[in-house]
Amino acid sequence: MPRPHRTVVGTSVAILIALTGTACTGGTGGGATDNPNKETTITFWHGWSAPSEIAAIKATVDAFEAKFPKIHVKVVANITDDKINQALRAGGPSAPDVVSSFTTDNVGEFCSSKVFADLTPFLEKSGINAEKTFPAALLDYTRYKDDQCTLPLLSDAYGLYYNKDAFKAAGIASPPKTLSEFKADAIKLTKSKGDTYTQLGFMPDFHGYETTMSHYAALWGPHYFDSSGKSIAASDPAITAMFTWQKAMVDTLGGFAKLEKFRSTFGDEFSSKNPFMTGQVAMSMDGEWRAGMIDDANIHLNYGVAPFPVPDDQASTYGKGYISGTVVGIASTSEKQNAAWEFVKYLTTDTQAVVNFSNAIHNIPSTEAALVSPDVDQDPSVKAFVDIARNPNSNTTPSSPNGGAYQLTLQDVGYGYESGKVTDLQSALQKADQQIDADIAQAQ
């Protein structure tokens, strides 16, 4: 068989190399050169999917379009972070201009990869002082280093849900305020039956839905990184104290194997089969949305909400909790960044828009002005979470260039420690520090 001509081979290889070198490189184009006063349509991607949430978005967009008649908003719902990341990299005319995400852990990745535009010039142009407009914890999770590539669009606060009937039956008068009170109450509320439970006081396992490493750790006020960005989990007393307390809770309430077996009977977290809603557990760590879900499910659950108890040596900080939320940013590939900014500014800083939206979807307002607005839902459960969000000791997890990978690494230590597979916590945390630093180095 004759050999392929050298020219053909050479050309093919050259084409391959050229294609390879240029493959899939999304553009970083775009820019804020458009005229927002010109008739234009921007595309807004968000992750909400429930009919009530879609209706709330529509009402917000309608109000914006009434205020800015020349800017039209095309809304695309039910978008996940994977889709956001992929679409922003692919670019093109179908890519979004404004994007919101539920995953605050991904903000570091959004900012450091520059898929979201830095909003600092827009804030300055509009004369908005971010520090005065948004609570500190919310600003923490919407930026990476000096890059304010997203802004908070409502927030989530985590607190304690407790079953009032179960409390009454166990002779508990009020929700616990310290972790030692909490432990005593959890024991009183737990009813064992053989190798399972008829009622569990509290599910402490790290797989117990919202009882994650970062949500627990917020009660101690942890420091995950030092000023140079190195992981300091092993040397931070808050993280060690959290793991030690959680392990003690697991052992006290029946041990890992028994708790895990009981956990496997739980229904879906975001359904009416949630174990707190079915009465399987008497106390639960959860976000403000649970109150709305309980009310919507119409299950007549006699429940109360309160801040989650704090460590005994930090009793004065009672009222704090973990804060998270939804973020919104502008795609750096967008050709309509000025128009997009008008929409983002309205969504995130217009007090009435923020209040109306938070009331409609049972979330916490995300600006200082909206948090104290008399128009905010005055339901006691909502107020409890608004107070947690306003508490100066409430905190969040810092952003990182590889998203929440460091939290997964630490949570992995927790899985090992709670199950008894890991016995030397300090050594495991030191290894986790090395792993986190290596992962971040790879991402940078």
Binding site: D82, S113, Y415, Q442
Partner: protein, 315 residues
């Protein structure tokens, strides 16, 4: 002489061009969908590339990260090899056994064929969720029955040592695709050969060993090779099983633990997706993809050499 030489050269050139024209669909397909991705994967495995900013040369940085630092690579590799060896072997043996059984059945053949084939039509996500429900250690019907019989109740998808056996069980449940192929090949074995073997005094085992196996050996190799390729692409079932069992399936904005429980359901294709399309660490994702490619080549070459390819002994 010169005139004849030129003519000959022209004809050869024309022949080459014609051959190339005939081969062009294949060349285009292979170039675009095999060679280019392969070359690009090798190229990007040496680059830092997040899909947004231009690629930057990092030498063997990605390779070193995946092999020495990335904590999920070795568990995923071990799981993938386990699935290739155990699931593929058991599926081939079970598929053959079911095929043999079905061809022997005289009455109700249609019912049994349908019963064994139907599960393979179930969508993987739905099938996995159904299995996670059936095998739920706290409230699943399987464990309830095992408990009533006084037998051990495994944790299935919630126990690192039982999660892969549970996946294997599910793979065997969906054996219909292989059963059909084996059944067709078994029906294709010439009856005369069995009759001749019987006349020579061969028993059932000898007939299977010396008549059935040589006739269906290409199908066995085909089943093993395609099984290995499927096992290397095993993504949906372990991912869904892990998410359902960990209770993290509905959470938005949560950090999802890969390979629950304890990385036991993590496979290499999951890493390729996680690294490439969630973390946008294209370089590391390409390294894992190349490892998968090399594994597929080695397994396929071993099977093809030992099984004489897709040819029967007579071919």
């Amino acid at each position: 002489v010169t005139q004849r030489t030129v003519t000959l050269r022209d004809r050869r050139r024309r022949d080459r061009l014609r051959n190339l024209a005939f081969m062009s669909p294949w060349l285009l397909g292979t170039g675009l969908f095999f060679l280019y991705p392969l070359v690009a994967t090798v190229y990007f495995s040496f680059m830092k590339y997040d899909g947004f900013t231009p690629p930057v040369w990092t030498g063997i940085g990605n390779w070193s990260y995946v092999f020495h630092v990335y904590p999920f690579f070795w568990p995923a590799l071990r799981n993938t090899i386990w699935l290739v060896l155990v699931v593929v072997t058991l599926r081939v043996l079970f598929g053959l056994a079911v095929g043999l059984l079905i061809v022997k059945i005289k009455r109700g053949t249609g019912v049994f064929r349908t019963l064994f084939y139907a599960p393979s039509l179930a969508p993987p996500v739905a099938a996995t969720m159904a299995f996670a429900f059936l095998l739920n250690p706290g409230s699943g019907p399987v464990d309830t029955i095992l408990g009533r019989l006084g037998l051990p109740q495994p944790g299935w998808f919630n126990d690192p040592s039982w999660s892969k056996p549970a996946l294997t069980l599910m793979a065997l449940w969906g054996i219909g695709d292989l059963m059909i192929i084996f059944m067709a090949s078994l029906l294709d074995v010439p009856r005369e050969q069995y009759e001749a073997a019987e006349l020579d005094g061969a028993g059932a085992v000898a007939r299977f060993r010396f008549v059935t196996l040589p006739n269906i050996s290409p199908i066995l190799v085909f089943a093993a090779v395609t099984g290995v390729i499927q096992a290397m692409q095993y993504y949906t079932e372990p991912l869904i099983a892990g998410k359902v069992a960990s209770g993290q399936i509905g959470g938005s904005g949560q950090q999802i633990e890969p390979g629950y429980p304890d990385k036991s359901t993590l496979t290499l294709p999951q890493l390729v997706y996680n690294l490439g399309f969630q973390r946008f660490d294209t370089g590391a994702a390409c390294v894992v993809a190349l490892v998968l490619f090399a594994m597929a080549m080695v397994f396929a070459a071993m099977l093809m050499r030992r099984g004489h390819g897709f040819l029967t002994a007579e071919d």
